[in-house]
Symmetry: C4
Subunit: 190 residues, 4 copies
């Protein structure tokens, strides 16, 4: 089974998610700078989610590049990842409209955590399909970044009930950590 349609479908879903995020930015009625102020926290949530979706798309791109073939379970592991990503607009909006209240920030982190787990599962299913000595397995290595991200989310979610700014700081930290592109796969291919 070829991977091309899985790529195309994932690109389509992530493209739509990243774009409908902006529909949550409600246009203010007044044409003044003051009217833009309440939009600001929603906008910042939007930027954060845009970056996270960009990271997932970029990593997905790197990952699937070293994939040679796919199977039924791979398609479903991929759909599972897309499911969690599809919840991003909902939690982004809830967090943005409530000025970083505890529950929305915790739920945002929970969705990020499950997306990270789904990505981890997808990588595992792909490795078990390609073998432990495949280019894919070598390229992914110990997946340190993926594991540390999950740990940070696990800390950040309960922390939201103490201080939601700390949680958001941790989400931004994970984003920055991943913004350094996934050179592991690029390096292995050279």
């Amino acid at each position: 089974m070829t991977k091309s349609r899985m790529e195309a479908f994932s690109d389509g879903v992530i493209a739509v998610i990243i774009t409908i995020l902006v529909l949550e930015l409600k246009v203010p009625r007044e044409p003044t700078l003051a009217a833009l102020v309440p939009v600001a926290p929603v906008f910042l949530s939007y930027v954060l989610s845009f970056v996270f979706l960009g990271i997932y798309w970029s990593n997905h791109h790197h990952l699937i590049q070293v994939v040679e073939h796919v199977s039924g379970p791979v398609l479903w592991a991929n759909l599972h990842l897309l499911f969690w990503l599809s919840l991003t607009p909902f939690v982004t909006n809830w967090m943005g409209e409530n000025h970083l209240a505890a529950w929305p920030v915790a739920l945002y982190g929970t969705v990020l955590l499950f997306a990270a787990i789904a990505y981890f599962i997808l990588a595992k299913v792909l490795i078990s399909l390609h073998g432990a000595d495949s280019v894919l397995a070598t390229a992914l290595g110990s997946d340190f970044k993926g594991k540390i991200s999950m740990v940070i989310y696990l800390v950040a979610v309960p922390l939201a009930f103490v201080n939601s700014w700390f949680s958001c700081g941790l989400y931004v930290l994970v984003a920055i950590m991943w913004l350094v592109p996934d050179r592991r796969i690029e390096r292995t291919l050279i």
Copy 2:
């Protein structure tokens, strides 16, 4: 006529449908756990529809893989399938917002039934184009799962007026039945 654009268009439409489903999840105003409770039934409907659309995409992917060429009638049989799938967000939302009231649950099942019929027609049109001894015809075989699904929907729709929980149980049953990936085609290709 090549199949690539039909694949790309179907991927696009299903990707958009699966993603705009989430737009129906209305963000609660209050940043509390209690405010999330009314969203729960809509969320469960969302999960069910996400799984159904995932099943259709996955089966479509398997089906089109053994297709060698397409024709005008194939394009329209495919558009007919996409038409019924495009109604999913509407019925999902109506069902979710009305806590499994009879009519919405029956209409949900009706849309699933027509989507199943449309998939059946698409397969038939493709088989008549490729011949009864083609790889495609062999791979599809007697299409037992497709036929039993239609029978279950036919039972579940009127049952919604007796007890809508039974109908939903039957929808979930069909989803589980299909979540086992369509190995028929994979097996034939080996």
Copy 3:
């Protein structure tokens, strides 16, 4: 310049248009059959627009198939077509919510007319690029269906102010006329 990205972009835009059409179907509050009744005219408009967009996609698919290369003007003639198609959700909704009042029906026909003109221009630009003795020019022939469609729209638009049911009848007539797939190109290729 290759045609692949123009195909992909057109597929994407038409896929989104055809899918966001359904967002106009407002979910009724009551879970009763009676509550669905006011949705019916919007639904019928939806079906009509779905069919028209399906026709455009299918014809675009046939047309681009015989195209060998594209140019800057072709990209813009294509964007011009997509512009008129992108107005479909707006006019569909206006027509559906106003029970076939004169102005919405006339505007609906006007958008169809401009889309037909845009398709005509796209075909002309492509023919002038490929030459009058190309496969493309032979395949399109005199484009009788395209011309008669434009004439019917020109009649149907003012007719909306006399009797909007006649106009809608004419729109349905054009749709039926095109539902017979564009065998000209298929025939030429054999």
Copy 4:
């Protein structure tokens, strides 16, 4: 790393942006011509943004065509461009609904300016990857149009607080300047 998925993803995102723009056109309640009048300024903003997105898609298409390979930084420079383009529906709507008030017009120009800068960065990253004597570098040349566009935006944004019609006139001027397709690359390839 191949460019195909970056193309597909960009096509998807721009296709969704260009299509959800039309969701901002709120359907009037009354089926009269008078009811359409308040939609007119939003419609004109829509046309302007459609043209700008068409220009970006067309130029992106020309640019990526001469690209031979991509890298992590290229993916992010591309996502950065898509980010600014994704803000188009928000600013288009704000400008259209406020009859060209100063702040919305200035913000619209600011988004255009940042999109232009992002495109400029993307081109620079691609040139540094391909080398100063590559086909890409030759094709782009001095990028006069890109630079003059940025200067015009820099003038138009503060001008909105003097007379927003002048600013809009300048935006239209830039659009017209780019509507002449980017023959530089086409010319270089011949």
